[in-house]
């Protein structure tokens, strides 16, 4: 069942590429400098190195994530290094233009590249540690959270902020991750 749907989605992707190719007049020239700025993902909040060398991460992170997802959930293998919670721990940062800097977010990191590459992922609707205050292995040290963030967690105003942040129709415009 699953492999069938994968083949289907690959086929659809194939069509999409053909259509895009036609649309752009089949020009193979690299994007002109200044046309679309190259993505500039935010620096990791924590850690000196990623779980793999950077060029490997850029190319293959989604394969790692998918593999680990299946291993964790379906086989019960835990503690391997490509954990989504671990990515969140190191890469979620606060940013003044997102929820006034009160919540950590992956938008300046994952979404920075994904919007460039027209990738749309839907992970953080459930894995919402990425858009919460003070969750993670180093509670309190994560990003520039206020020291009383534990109390803030129950703060209605903050929850409203979060809602606005998650709502794609709001001026803050969804997480876009």
């Amino acid at each position: 069942m699953r492999s069938a749907s994968r083949i289907l989605s690959l086929t659809i992707l194939g069509f999409a590429i053909v259509i895009m190719g036609l649309g752009s007049g089949l020009s193979a020239a690299p994007a002109q400098a200044g046309e679309v700025p190259l993505p500039n993902p935010a620096k990791a909040f924590k850690g000196e190195q990623c779980v793999e060398p950077i060029d490997v991460m850029r190319r293959d992170h989604f394969e790692f994530l998918k593999h680990q997802r299946d291993e964790t959930l379906r086989e019960g293998i835990r503690g391997k290094k490509y954990s989504l919670n671990a990515c969140i721990d190191c890469h979620a940062v606060t940013s003044p233009d997102i929820a006034g800097g009160k919540l950590r977010t992956l938008k300046p990191f994952c979404a920075e590249c994904h919007s460039y590459a027209a990738v749309s992922i839907d992970c953080f609707e459930c894995h919402s540690g990425a858009v919460q205050p003070g969750i993670g292995s180093e509670i309190g040290k994560q990003s520039a959270l206020p020291p009383n963030h534990e109390q803030l967690k129950a703060d209605k105003a903050l929850i409203t902020l979060l809602k606005g942040h998650l709502d794609p129709t709001s001026p803050q415009g969804g997480t876009g991750q």
């Binding site: 699953r2 997802r69 671990a86 459930c126």
Partner: protein, 258 residues
């Protein structure tokens, strides 16, 4: 899947170290790739995979004072983060909001005898929810824990129809403030996971732990395959029964006193 093959290699001292490294048994191993380039693995000890050697189960004592079931329900909510979902106008909907575990009161109409017991996913050995799932999202782990793989759940709710215990719920409203160990989201089905994230760490499910802390052993958790485990001993000592045993689904949850 190198790790798996590694596991079957017999352990000469050299292999053993290599294996621990690969499995990340060392908390922060530094691997030198080339002069000047190092790769630090950030993983803690790797655990699993789940195997058929274990069969996790529960034994519930329906003669316990009924207040303990409220405690078990609250502990589950707190651990897994359900029970406070609401719609856009901030309203909860008792008819459709998720319920991973609930207290059920029963009465024998002839004798008037009453009992109260918690009902949740019964973690069947032959789970009908798995049979009917069109995507493979409804699944049983090797150790008998029945789960929803929400990554491939399309929200069709066939499993909810198939479950004789009405143990699964559909998430109708957007969810926020999920726990990192329990991602939940609108449009998928969910139910008791036997606290798989805790069990995999060698801990007890949240409901069991909460009752233990309150001095009650009304819910026992353990390995039904291990004849020496507390739960196996209890199951062989008391008269126990499983709800709707006639269906042949072989639940992993046993009850006594009903």
């Amino acid at each position: 899947m190198t790790d798996k093959t590694m596991n079957t290699v017999d352990s000469s001292p050299v292999d053993a170290t290599k294996r621990t490294l690969l499995k990340g048994g060392v908390a922060a191993a530094v691997i030198t790739l080339a002069p000047g380039i190092t790769l630090r693995t950030v993983e803690a000890a790797v655990t699993g995979p789940a195997t058929q050697a274990k069969r996790w189960g529960m034994l519930i004592d329906a003669t316990a004072p009924e207040g303990v079931w409220d405690l078990a329900v609250e502990a589950c909510k707190a651990e897994q983060g359900w029970g406070s979902d609401h719609n856009k106008s901030g309203k909860a909907n008792a008819a459709t909001d998720p319920q991973w575990i609930r207290k059920v009161s029963i009465k024998n109409p002839k004798t008037g005898a009453k009992a109260s017991l918690p009902v949740m996913c019964q973690h069947c050995a032959n789970p009908p929810c798995v049979d009917v799932c069109p995507t493979g999202a409804s699944m049983k782990r090797e150790d008998g824990i029945v789960l929803v793989d929400k990554h491939i759940c399309i929200g069709c709710r066939y499993c909810m129809m198939a479950c004789p215990y009405s143990a699964r719920s559909f998430v109708h409203e957007p969810v926020e403030m999920q726990k990192p160990h329990m991602p939940r989201g609108k449009g998928t089905v969910e139910g008791c996971t036997m606290c798989v994230h805790r069990v995999d760490k060698g801990q007890q499910p949240a409901c069991v732990e909460a009752l233990n802390k309150a001095g009650s052993d009304a819910i026992m958790f353990g390995d039904l395959n291990d004849p020496k485990s507390d739960i196996s001993r209890a199951v062989s000592k008391y008269v126990t029964q499983r709800i709707r045993a006639d269906l042949g689904v072989e639940p992993g949850v046993h009850y006594r006193g009903i």
